[in-house]
Symmetry: C2
Subunit: 486 residues, 2 copies
Amino acid sequence: MKYNVNRARNITLVMDFYELTMSYSYFKKGMKDEIVYFDMFYRKNPDNGGVVITAGLQQLIEAVEDMHFSDGDLDYLRSLHIFDEAFLDYLKNFKFTGDIWAVPEGTPVFPYEPLVTVRAPIIEAQLIETFLLVTINHQSLIATKAHRVVQEAKGRPVMEFGARRAQGYDGATYGARAAYIGGASGTATVSAGEMFGIPVLGTMAHSFVQSFDSEYEAFKAYAEIYPDNCILLVDTYDTLKSGIPNAIRVAEEVLIPNGHRLAGIRIDSGDIAYLTKKARAMLDVAGLTDAKISISNSLDEYLIRSVLEQGAKIDSFGVGENMITSKSAPVFGGVYKMAAVEKDGKIIPKIKISENTEKITNPGYKKVYRLIEKETQKALGDIIMFANEKINVNDDLTIYSQFDKWLNKTLPAGEFEYFELQKPVFKDGQCIYPEYTLDEIRENVKKQSALMWDEIFRLEYPHKYYVDLSRKLIDYKLKMLEEKRG
Amino acid sequence: MKYNVNRARNITLVMDFYELTMSYSYFKKGMKDEIVYFDMFYRKNPDNGGVVITAGLQQLIEAVEDMHFSDGDLDYLRSLHIFDEAFLDYLKNFKFTGDIWAVPEGTPVFPYEPLVTVRAPIIEAQLIETFLLVTINHQSLIATKAHRVVQEAKGRPVMEFGARRAQGYDGATYGARAAYIGGASGTATVSAGEMFGIPVLGTMAHSFVQSFDSEYEAFKAYAEIYPDNCILLVDTYDTLKSGIPNAIRVAEEVLIPNGHRLAGIRIDSGDIAYLTKKARAMLDVAGLTDAKISISNSLDEYLIRSVLEQGAKIDSFGVGENMITSKSAPVFGGVYKMAAVEKDGKIIPKIKISENTEKITNPGYKKVYRLIEKETQKALGDIIMFANEKINVNDDLTIYSQFDKWLNKTLPAGEFEYFELQKPVFKDGQCIYPEYTLDEIRENVKKQSALMWDEIFRLEYPHKYYVDLSRKLIDYKLKMLEEKRG
């Protein structure tokens, strides 16, 4: 039943042009089949937070599987008079043949660790770069923001209401998916309901109230059509003097006599703390103690925390533009950097140097492991190692800060366990990763978050999680830096 | 040749669910064909700017024309067990039959004036709301941001480079379209080149340089393949010690001996002012005075202004995440509010009241006119009037502040002229609006901007442009407010 709009269209050319100019160079220079390793990672948590919740992998898988250059695409590329026919022919028959490992959706992750690793012929690794980045960057951004918002709602449902202010149709639809992964209870965006099975919710706009001769008549009509789920928007004219009294009247005259209850009211403007306290009291006095109060007025995680601290009487939140665009931090800066090349079957690590220390990459084909303290079952940190290194839980394990070898920490033998963070997703171009339901992904968020100390999730000055390197990796990196700079 | 990915898919359900719950109510209550008027407008310029540049109308037209509920959509809606078969049948045969007026793309506009006005059966006016808003909101946001960025580049080309950090695939593609309308010279996003004919540009990433045994070999390979458009990324290892010397060597050894020139270099990190001055000097000393310097490192309008003020030697800019997401102001708050209903052929204005004065709507079916001072050919302001009012240029015209009637201004007879801001777009469901090319829309930006005083476009504390009301409209509005509140 789910309709996958993504697969109904061709997003292959959502691609930076330099992927093509580089690919053409590799093609012309006979280098296109050289095997390379790329890591996708990011450097800074959005909103100065402590963590990111990954999302978007399912769409990345679909984009890789569906990737193709249509005749129209090739005609367009031909019209640029840059590429020769042999190259266009190569694109016509393009199929991804490489390997991809990725961190599952709904996993808490941290700066500098590879979220996605690609091993592929260089031309393929390059041609998938842009949509890989936009897919993971966008959804991880929104999932992370939603996680923050939902956390501050302290158990109250948060509905995603942002389509109209999203950055485009995909921003609305995939954003709703990501928000659901991050913990939102549902969405107003119907396409996201249809495509992903996310619960959809919606009641009325101010225009509905205005379209009747009076607010009471509007509420009455709505109650007659939706007697079992009657949520009334009470702030079109005057919340306390008109909206709530009319809602109560409809409950008493239309709903209760017919065996129904008023499901709730929604307030979309004004002082939330004040209005919800007054509203709660008015509803309670009328015996409508079960009517819920829903709020939807430019909310974000900070405002939700603030109104709850002020004692606002709120049962659920509708969150729009601030969540669907991650307004306070609307960019997730994932990058895709070459980590190694294979020459004659040997893996040769590559490094990207920069004036800015934090922009220097970790070289080599690597794996990331999450280290868990046995006693507390809490994560101690993550370690990035060369893929051919092994962790031995019966030995002490020393982990080294990425930027300063002398900052290190030793985990005593026998006191920790570990698991690998990335899972195999593609092998020789074939997807070998299961398609998880969104509910399974939401479960993963809970399960993986339970491994984290709460301090990681704090909005302000969160605990800094360790993402460290193995001794071999830090030594190799420092040696490379010396050579390149020396 | 242009492939329209938007039309290849169905975005009808990029729709808030409440559009459907309201529509079902109208359907059940026999109200669905009541004629209503809606205005789309916004209340605040992004980035505390003085103006917005409109964009997105072409995609809105396509969305309205293509709107339909597929069998899959209807199956999904049926599965929710909320709507009856008669309503689903209505949706199956849905076609927009109303009228739409809109401000052409590429027009400077201001808070509170209707950018789009819809006259339609209420059910239709409601069902188009969400995609109308997301389309105009998103593209107007990015066009406005691009306009700011391009303005500060002071004639230097600005390329849009943001796909990887966009909020989804549409964010990248339609964002590139909007950025081009706003004045960007081209884009890196191939899909935007293909769909809209926008010039595409791209050269190489750091990975290209890394994939060769040395930076020099990478540059040499690139120069051999693109001798006529050789732009080299010089900051993979060390810009001044390695990148630029290697670029010069390639110019001298590969390009010049074969009758070509070095087109330029690109710097993507480090201190822009310092590095570009050094780079310019090194290139000039080598006789490469015609080699251009391009910069692309987290730029926005403020940083561009700053580095130019510092005397940075820059020929062109590549702008990524800060433009494609309008990072400093990633939400354009367009709203869609009911302005009137028709009863027995009479238009009855409607108003939305709010605790916040600036959220009170302007009632009625209205038109907006731009008032031009004859002598200077500069805009004096805009006036919103009832549609049945006329401006007589041979009479004095008094215009009234939206929020305070006592703030008014009189334009002397004979000293001003005017034009209507909105154009007819749909009449009885038929599109009657021409399809403009992007180049025509870019011309419109220039032509319409020439009517504005420069102070409107200032980044900080811009001149506040008048958007005032006619006497009749302000009087009517105040009367309605008194009645509703009284």
